[in-house]
Symmetry: C2
Subunit: 250 residues, 2 copies
């Protein structure tokens, strides 16, 4: 392990699984964000430190791809590191591994640092002194990074209002909650057939308590589904591409 990476051990405990007995995407997703936050904090560029200079980290893309999910009682470790620093974005990678060298999968995230006053992205390359201050570790991960997600449909499949329990401490709808809103569109069989292999999300704008959200979706070949969450105004909140493991191609 590179000393620049953060390593966080966990066990799948009761009430963190989905109905198939696997760690839930909600729990894992929020743990990824939490590890990112703890790792950045430990290296001096976390939420608190950035807020002191009136900046806030904003998640722009998140890809999680897993061959398998840990199950009740199984131990797993999330490792996370900053892989690259660009001008307006930085890539943070994650691995999820188990005992005896077992690899569950990887995650790829892209973040911007937003100036709370101007709402403009900060120049990360300059701010981090070419990455020197962000504990960069150049190791790659063997999954495809974020691509472009297109949803053409104009017939919403579900509408809902953002509620108290959807919100983070910052008053926005939680990033992982959008993924759940999409996963909630599918019936039991999709999860019993083997569940989800990969979820890619592009975060476009924030939603707040009371915002009316409309969800649009299109099923593609190979178990791939794309979905878009839009506000009443039509503004896109998030786009999501979900790949199911054993699609029913009949």
């Amino acid at each position: 392990m590179n000393r620049n990476a953060g390593k966080f051990p966990f066990v799948v405990e009761p009430f963190s699984e989905d109905f198939t007995g696997c760690l839930s995407w909600r729990f894992l997703g929020n743990q990824l964000l939490r590890c990112a936050s703890l790792h950045a904090g430990a290296h001096g560029f976390g939420f608190d430190e950035m807020q002191r200079s009136r900046h806030v980290w904003v998640l722009s893309r998140l890809v999680v791809e897993l061959d398998d999910m840990p199950r009740t009682g199984e131990r797993y470790t999330i490792e996370t590191w900053v892989s690259k620093v660009y001008r307006q974005f930085t890539d943070r990678f994650f691995s999820v591994t188990g005992d005896e060298g077992r690899v569950y999968g990887y995650a790829y995230s892209v973040w911007a640092l937003i100036d709370m006053d101007s709402r403009e992205p900060a120049d990360l390359a300059a701010l981090s002194q070419g990455g020197a201050l962000f504990a960069v570790d150049g190791r790659g991960i063997p999954i495809k990074g974020p691509g472009r997600i297109r949803v053409k449909s104009d017939d919403s499949v579900r509408s809902l209002s953002a509620c108290y329990s959807d919100l983070d401490i910052n008053g926005h709808v939680n990033s992982i909650r959008y993924i759940e809103m999409v996963l909630d569109l599918f019936p039991r069989e999709y999860y019993e057939r083997g569940g989800v292999k990969r979820i890619e999300t592009a975060y476009c704008t924030e939603a707040y308590l009371g915002d009316r959200l409309h969800i649009y979706k299109e099923e593609k070949a190979g178990g791939i589904v794309v979905a878009e969450i839009r506000k009443e105004s039509g503004d896109v909140v998030a786009r999501c591409e979900v790949t199911f493991r054993n699609p029913d191609e009949s």
Copy 2:
């Protein structure tokens, strides 16, 4: 501490808070259930042990009453113990405490052990040898136990369908999720005024993926709101009484 009680230390970590910066009811509620499960397991009457004799623990009542909620970075400890064993029910208590003797609050839960084949409750007094096998610790807690919740309204204030993300490992809607469904009925001001002091829930029947649920509510004096979640058939799934801290009595 009595050696029959289980004691579980935690810290409020990023992505476990609500928008006011307090530990969320979802997170705390599921941690209470998780501590109950771990404590019962450690004493030989947990989920796995009971399933071997084709029994399952079913939550019947849950009361959580807190003077305050821990906030980001604060440490807290959940202690739990079986307080009493009746014929068909057992009382399990919880305390939530912080550093330097600080008390956040208490929880009172009532459980039945259901025979998976007959669907009848087991005789707990006999099964536990008068409580001897359930690590009973008679200490009381200074909050009112569960009472009777009555909701007369027949005009639902919200309807929704139980989704993938609502479910537990057993395929039922998660017990704490019903509490969230009720908390989600209130606007921002209810939480900004000081949030929730006490939530009492009576669990009546289970809901499953796809079940259409209708929520009924009545506001009473003193910041008290009662709500009922019913299935399409009219069967009551859960009743909830929520007490807000600083009601707007204007």
